[in-house]
């Protein structure tokens, strides 16, 4: 008998009587609230607060022009900039694919468009069709993700509702720069992945006055 059949046989003999699945609909007092911080119904604001608390940063911008300006101002030392966003083609290497992910070894900054953000934990959901290469969001020294300000869901239940039955080969939530606290619980940003993580939230209603 194969190990598969042996294992399944023992499990069938040993598993207890069927127990039903609970509902995962959030009870009324849902969402993450922090009484000290007042109104938490503004998901974008909460998203930014949490993101900053976990070592990331955010800019609310009027559009791609503004993003390009900020990147020029903020990333002066980053030589190789790769992006999946055609709007940034003037300033970044924008390609559909690479032969080998190892070609991305020396990327200084990757700018990718994510699907949405999650207010309770500052994470952004991105699937591989927006990564160019799966390795890119991890191998790059710095990462910037772009979402629309209206695309911030309050919590992970809403996040999965939104993902639904979406088809992807690989997808990931990214919350802040890579980090570790393995040495005496001292938090260090930049473990193996990006040392910095920036999220641009596009707010179409914003005038181009450029505040962020």
């Amino acid at each position: 008998m194969s190990s598969r059949d042996k294992i399944l046989g023992v499990i069938r003999a040993n598993q207890p009587e069927g127990k039903s699945l609970p509902s995962v609909t959030l009870p009324e007092a849902g969402g993450v609230t922090d009484p000290a911080k007042g109104d938490m119904t503004d998901t974008a604001r909460q998203f930014i607060e949490v993101l900053e608390a976990i070592g990331g940063r955010a800019f609310i911008v009027s559009g791609w022009e503004r993003i390009a300006t900020i990147i020029k101002e903020e990333y002066t030392q980053q030589h190789r900039i790769v992006s999946g966003c055609k709007e940034l083609a003037r300033m970044a290497e924008v390609r559909d694919r690479y032969e080998d992910p190892h070609e991305l070894e020396n990327v200084d900054l990757a700018i990718l468009e994510a699907h949405f953000g999650v207010a309770e934990n500052g994470a952004c959901w991105i699937t591989e069709d927006r990564m160019i290469e799966r390795a890119l969001p991890f191998i790059t020294q710095n990462l910037a993700l772009v979402i629309h300000k209206k695309d911030v869901v309050p919590h992970m239940h809403a996040a999965y509702e939104r993902i639904g039955q979406a088809v992807y080969g690989f997808g990931t939530f990214i919350a802040g720069p890579s980090k570790t606290a393995d040495i005496e619980q001292s938090l260090v940003l930049g473990a193996h992945g990006p040392c910095s993580m920036t999220v641009f939230l596009i707010d179409e209603e914003l005038s181009d006055a450029g505040f962020y």
Partner: protein
């Protein structure tokens, strides 16, 4: 048993300032967990829901496994089944041989610790590089992890500085965490870039979709997997959850319980291999299917390996992970390990005061302290108690079952002084080593009552 928990813990306690440091470091994480959980108004609902989902999983495990296998297969992932640690190790080694590879990177997987994969592969000439920073530290030090989430939590930064000086050539005396982490980043980046096979663990596997989720803060699982030609993911069969939407429940609980973060930096959902890549999943039983048949103990299989029970455990904090002499230490390890080898781990269910804090922090509501109590009964009845202890217990029971014996024996504490509950071993009195005995009163309460009432 070579060295049991009590002996190893006694060794650990010889350096009291270090015990204080270890205790405070872990308590700090417990406090961070409290803060993070406190920000979620529906925290207790989340725990109830997660527990109920996992109860459902255990009661339909065979169906979910078959469903997962089908879905993963459809996604282009190769599914393997390993009955035990040996078969798991052989499967991994077989894949390496097939690709003619003798070097690989591995992100954190407690299952591979449980199976002693590193030792096995090393004996077969394969070099394994653990890429989680904490795991790399203990690997270089030649030690097992002492904590399932924070593998080198028992090491001080000065010691890590020395290890890095010796193995990575960092300057002697530099113990700055920022500096050391950066040195490890450079050291491991070279490994990520050059290795063709990457092994990862699995936090959750979804039966509905055949995808699996790996959570890291460092990004090491992703760095390994996305750069390698072959990705091998190893998981215990209990890691399944029914639906993708259930991830919402578990990802909200996991990291808040583990470190007090709202989520790990990366929660990566692997569904299909990338073009040209091979992806393998090894489903490992290693005693789990048998454990499922133990009514009193099966729900320990709900564990999602957050280690909240480690951080809150007053015994773990003051005895260190290595005193548990097993891959998964702490309270949860103390109820999981006897299933693997009851004799070898017969000491672990006794390494607890049964204070119950572990059960309260558990995000999937495993009744850990009650199982510790129940394991004690099973272990004793299985004949694993020392004869002297059994004799002492029998004597104690005889005295306490016979009021007349108790009253003559116990006249104002005299019998008690010798027997209950301090010196069941009848050896030198371990109570008195660092504690004074209570003063013996003139009369017992019973004697007082007889004189003063009725």
């Amino acid at each position: 048993m070579a060295q049991d928990h009590a002996h190893l813990a006694t060794e650990f306690n010889k350096d009291e300032p270090r015990v204080d440091w270890h205790d405070k470091t872990l308590w700090f994480i417990r406090e961070k967990r409290d803060k993070a959980a406190g920000r979620v108004p529906e925290w207790e609902w989340l725990r109830d829901t997660a527990s109920a989902i996992k109860e459902n999983v255990l009661s339909h495990l065979s169906e979910y496994l078959v469903q997962f296998e089908e879905q993963a297969g459809r996604n282009g992932v190769v599914v393997h089944w390993a009955a035990d640690a040996e078969e798991h190790n052989e499967i991994v080694y077989g894949l390496l041989k097939k690709h003619g590879v003798d070097k690989m990177v591995k992100s954190k997987s407690m299952l591979t610790e449980e199976c002693h994969l590193n030792e096995f592969l090393s004996e077969h000439g394969v070099e394994v590089i653990d890429t989680d920073l904490g795991e790399r530290v203990v690997q270089l030090a030649g030690e097992p992890p002492s904590h399932i989430v924070l593998p080198c939590i028992h090491k001080k930064k000065e010691e890590i500085g020395e290890i890095f000086h010796e193995h990575l050539g960092t300057p002697a005396g530099n113990a700055d965490p920022q500096f050391l982490t950066h040195a490890a980043r450079l050291h491991l980046r070279e490994k990520f870039i050059t290795r063709r096979v990457a092994l990862t663990g699995v936090n959750f596997a979804v039966a509905e979709t055949g995808e699996f989720v790996v959570c890291t803060n460092e990004g090491n699982a992703d760095m390994g997997a996305h750069l390698a030609d072959v990705h091998i993911a190893c998981m215990g069969i209990e890691k399944l959850i029914p639906l993708r939407q259930h991830l919402g429940v578990f990802l909200r609980l996991l990291t808040r319980s583990a470190t007090g973060q709202p989520i790990t930096t990366y929660s990566s959902h692997f569904k299909q291999p990338r073009p040209g890549q091979e992806m393998h999943i090894v489903l490992v039983d290693n005693g789990r299917s048998v454990h499922l048949g133990r009514k009193d103990f099966r729900n320990s299989l709900k564990c999602i390996r957050c280690a909240a029970c480690f951080n809150t455990c007053p015994v773990y904090r003051r005895s260190g992970g290595h005193s548990y002499h097993t891959a998964v230490a702490g309270p949860i390890g103390s109820i999981l390990s006897p299933n693997l080898d009851m004799k070898k781990y017969s000491d672990l269910p006794f390494a607890s005061t049964l204070c119950g804090s572990c059960s309260n922090v558990c995000p999937v509501k495993i009744d850990i302290h009650e199982q510790l109590y129940k394991w004690r009964q099973v272990i004793v009845q299985d004949g694993n108690a020392p004869v002297s202890k059994t004799m002492a217990m029998k004597t104690m029971n005889w005295v306490l079952s016979n009021p007349s014996v108790y009253h003559t024996a116990g006249k104002a504490g005299r019998w008690f002084m010798g027997k209950v509950p301090f010196t069941v071993n009848n050896g030198l009195n371990p109570w008195y080593k660092q504690r004074d005995m209570p003063e013996v009163p003139k009369e017992s309460f019973g004697e007082w009552y007889k004189r003063n009432r009725k």
